[in-house]
């Protein structure tokens, strides 16, 4: 197959990928009624040079399928129209990009200040996989020809995503695919397989959460990405209805309400790192007794953070949190107590 393609392309100038994709987008934008696949392959630059009128175009057709996906991934609304006379017939499908859904609406313009802010928003992701998405978004907005205000100096905000599950989940959200993964819930002896319809991914209190419908429990659940063990797999052939448009804001609201419900009383050692850093987040403080009160979302997550402070902090209440912290300290002490490791 590869040899055959090489044979055919010999003598014709090689068309670069972006050239072929650009020609495809132009052709599909210019058509009102849509083009047949055979018309695209036989006339559009990048395909036409390799088109075989005798009919052996299987590899070219596969190329077109991949190109179509790639164009759609970029947010270009490439439509497929079925022929009313011949429903279900693949050869009579027509393709087009409706200009009204392609063009940025006229009311979407930006001031130089807003563009500078968007530039800073894109910079937030410079160490994460979202970097290429945000950079592409900026490139598209440069089409407007607006000169942004001078970039904000002396300011380098950054978000990192360290959870391996983040990227596959974001993709599943985007494509509305159900997924499965093993999830280690504190208090359970081992990770358990979950099958989930993903609705939203949100960052709350420095932790990424997945919100969605657990297919086995048949209910809405929220998971911490950091407790997902191993790969996230797509459940093929499973479809589900779109979640409400504001689901991500709603789940952030729920997490925040949960945080405000939970309050811990902590004794912090005077002059310690715990006193300075936890003290800044305190909602109540009794300086005489060295006791502060703090809200938290998840006892297990907060217990990890408190364990790091060792003797600088002691949980007074609630008992659940105190037990979680002492259990963690005991694990760390035991793991480092033995004389020999091997």
């Amino acid at each position: 197959m590869i040899a055959a393609v090489a044979e055919k392309s010999r003598g014709t100038p090689r068309i670069q990928v972006e050239d072929r994709l650009f020609s495809l987008v132009l052709a599909l934008l210019a058509t009102e009624t849509g083009l047949l696949k055979s018309e695209i392959l036989s006339t559009v630059r990048g395909y036409a040079e390799r088109y075989d009128p005798a009919g052996a175009n299987a590899s070219l057709e596969r190329q077109f399928e991949r190109d179509k996906d790639e164009v759609r991934e970029l947010g270009i609304p490439l439509e497929t129209i079925e022929s009313p006379d011949r429903p279900g017939d693949n050869q009579s499908l027509r393709y087009r990009i409706p200009k009204g859904r392609y063009d940025l609406p006229d009311e979407v313009t930006f001031t130089p200040d807003e563009l500078a802010l968007l530039g800073l928003a894109a910079e937030v992701w410079r160490e994460a996989s979202l970097s290429s998405d945000s950079q592409r978004a900026l490139t598209k907005l440069r089409a407007l020809g607006i000169e942004p205000r001078e970039p904000v100096i002396g300011y380098a905000p950054r978000l990192r995503v360290r959870d391996a599950a983040f990227e596959p989940l974001r993709q599943a959200l985007d494509r509305r695919q159900a997924v499965s993964f093993r999830y280690f819930k504190p208090g359970e002896p081992a990770p358990r397989l979950r099958r989930v319809e993903p609705y939203a991914v949100v960052l709350h209190e420095g932790r990424w959460h997945l919100h969605g419908r657990d297919r086995d429990a048949d209910g809405l659940r929220t998971y911490l990405l950091s407790r997902i063990v191993g790969p996230v797999q797509v459940l093929s052939g499973v479809t589900f209805d779109a979640p409400p448009a504001d689901v991500q804001d709603r789940i952030l609201g729920e997490l925040e309400a949960l945080r405000l419900q939970n309050s811990a009383d902590l004794a912090v050692a005077a002059g310690s790192d715990a006193e300075v850093r936890l003290g800044k987040r305190a909602v109540l403080r009794d300086d005489d007794r060295g006791v502060i009160a703090l809200h938290y979302t998840d006892a297990a997550v907060f217990a990890d953070e408190l364990a790091a402070y060792g003797p600088e902090v002691r949980v007074i209440a609630p008992a659940e949190l105190r037990d979680a912290v002492t259990a963690r300290l005991a694990i760390v002490a035991a793991a480092h107590d033995e004389e020999e490791v091997r």
Partner: protein
């Protein structure tokens, strides 16, 4: 200029689709001007212009006739390095954002809302709405909670902008407390943690300070010195010759959490875990790091590092045995 990764074909396509409406909007554009605006080399811009100038529609006959092609003023382009499109087809407007692209910017903006730049600003809401309008379909359901910024941040920002010195009490990672006088140069953040990168007058060198470790902050009347020749480091963590190597076993899933401390990219299997080497400034920071990842990371060597971690955890437990004594003691604590 920062080194840039080579563009992928899809990125080049997006550039072409944005470049055409930009050229139409601006009408007459110097190659150098376009290169600067899009952050590309002049060679890349010229290549793109040549590609566009020979692109177009297959047309009725399927043969790309001149009237179905873009055309540029070739004389201006070849003699003066100036781009003028004289005939265009199919596109004249900016493309909409994809769901992923829009959500990346929206989540980035939500994160920035914590910063003094945007505190409580209505323009942020308007901006988010415009991004939603400009998206094909709806943005991916990704969101970042707005958080309360450390109150110090606004004052630090003020000092950076005004070019004034800052003074504050600072408790460093070793637990030493001292008054510091600095020239603030840049505010940096990493997730929920905010840092000030500054020239420290006492140490006569650049230092990174955690904002949440600062107290008694004061914006001074004194202006900062000229630091234009000084480079503010892009990374918040950097090693020094006095750093210590520590061998640890870590669960594979936990490895990304140690990324800032890895001495090298080498790892070897150790049972169901990975054995890697960390580089830390001192055991004072190490014991906190390990205790904060309970059960996920175990120090293997050296023995002093193991002992420091064990002692830290035992001291923590001891606090629960005799609540009147916040530190000290060496007995085993209750295991909850």
């Amino acid at each position: 200029m920062v080194a840039r990764k080579p563009l992928r074909a899809s990125d080049k396509l997006v550039f072409l689709l944005a470049f055409v409406p930009y050229l139409l909007e601006r009408r007459v554009v110097d190659v150098s001007e376009a290169a600067e605006y899009f952050g590309l080399s002049e060679g890349e811009i010229r290549d793109a212009v040549r590609l566009i100038a020979t692109s177009g529609l297959p047309g009725e006959t399927g043969t790309y006739q001149p009237n179905d092609l873009f055309d540029i003023d070739w004389d201006s382009f070849e003699d003066d390095d100036v781009i003028v499109i004289v005939h265009h087809v199919a596109i004249d407007d900016a493309p909409r954002l994809s769901a992923r692209e829009a959500s990346a910017l929206i989540a980035g903006l939500q994160y920035l809302s914590a910063s003094p730049e945007n505190a409580g600003s209505a323009r942020l809401a308007a901006l988010l709405e415009k991004l939603r309008l400009g998206t094909t379909g709806a943005p991916t359901q990704l969101a970042v909670a707005e958080t309360e910024a450390d109150a110090s941040l606004a004052r630090i920002r003020e000092a950076v902008t005004a070019g004034r010195q800052l003074e504050f009490d600072y408790r460093n990672a070793l637990g030493e407390r001292a008054r510091r006088r600095v020239d603030p140069l840049r505010i940096a953040s990493l997730g929920a943690d905010w840092y000030l990168q500054a020239y420290d007058h006492g140490r006569e060198d650049m230092r990174n300070f955690r904002v949440d470790r600062m107290t008694e902050l004061l914006v001074s009347e004194r202006p900062i010195a000229d630091h234009s020749g000084r480079e503010v480091p892009d990374t918040l963590f950097h090693g020094s010759d006095s750093d210590l190597d520590v061998v640890v076993d870590v669960a594979e899933e936990t490895l990304p959490l140690l990324a800032d401390y890895l001495a090298d990219s080498h790892s070897e299997p150790a049972g169901d875990r990975l054995r890697v080497t960390l580089r830390v400034a001192h055991y004072h920071g190490l014991k906190r790091l390990i205790a904060g990842l309970p059960g996920l990371v175990t120090v293997v060597a050296p023995a002093e590092a193991r002992a420091a971690v064990a002692e830290w955890a035992r001291a923590g437990l001891a606090g629960y045995e005799s609540p009147d004594v916040p530190t000290g003691g060496s007995g085993k604590g209750p295991t909850g």
